[in-house]
Symmetry: C2
Subunit: 147 residues, 2 copies
């Protein structure tokens, strides 16, 4: 259910999307709000930066956590003009953000699709290389944490 | 099937993971190789940077694309000590990297799980806010592209 400030903040996200469009970037914008205050705003910069991770949401998450001084977006809401992709959904999951609000659905790349195939069709996978060592450095780390 | 240089490069990735461990970060390391040359190496810095997106893979992708001057990791291989999470798998998908090599599986957070629930359990979703506008700025952008 759409809430009182949703339109207000989505308009800000749209203003960010406009900035992206002006740069010839796929026009997606995002705004992070904490207790009624905007703490981050960003737009897609993948072409400008030549970086496939520079989605609006990713930058907004980085900026917001930097502002809050921690890696969780507690009590925050993110407004995104378009349904996040799998990468951004994963980042949002790590941030533990309690609320996501988006405008347009993305029937091609939106996270709600959750295709069987999550990696790119061209990507091949090999696994188990130095598995023991890779696993053991993790175990060592976590066992140290527990004691 | 494990290939000739896999052990060599995975050892480099492990050296990165060691650096993470030394910083009290979850010890994951990543290396990107292009035509036999290492073009990026990174380790998890989520705690140091207070940024949930600062996984080893994300930084390695950003560094590698910056080095190559484009947003695709054509002809590259990424070596990661641990199976990437959904966010990193999504980022790898965007990069169109042809080969992923990892060491340890991650039965809790690895992308190959593809749980039904991709966002954090605490995350609530509201959608359709300014849907028309959000959708139309996209359509406008792409229709301009086509002409």
């Amino acid at each position: 259910m759409i809430q009182g400030d949703d339109i207000h903040f989505m308009k800000m996200a749209l203003a960010e999307a406009e900035k992206a469009a002006a740069r010839d970037e796929v026009p997606v914008g995002a705004v992070v709000v904490s207790n009624g205050t905007v703490i981050a705003r960003a737009h897609n910069l993948t072409e400008t930066l030549g970086d496939p991770t520079a989605h609006a949401e990713m930058q907004a998450i980085t900026a917001a956590t930097s502002y809050l001084g921690g890696k969780y977006l507690i009590d925050c809401t993110i407004y995104v003009t378009v349904e996040p992709c799998v990468m951004c959904a994963g980042a949002l999951a790590w941030s533990q953000i309690p609320v996501l609000v988006y405008g347009a659905s993305d029937p091609k790349k939106g996270y709600s699709l959750i295709e069987q195939q999550l990696l790119h069709p061209k990507t091949k996978v090999r696994k188990g290389v130095l598995e023991t060592e890779c696993s053991s450095i993790m175990k060592k780390f976590f066992s140290k944490k527990r004691h």
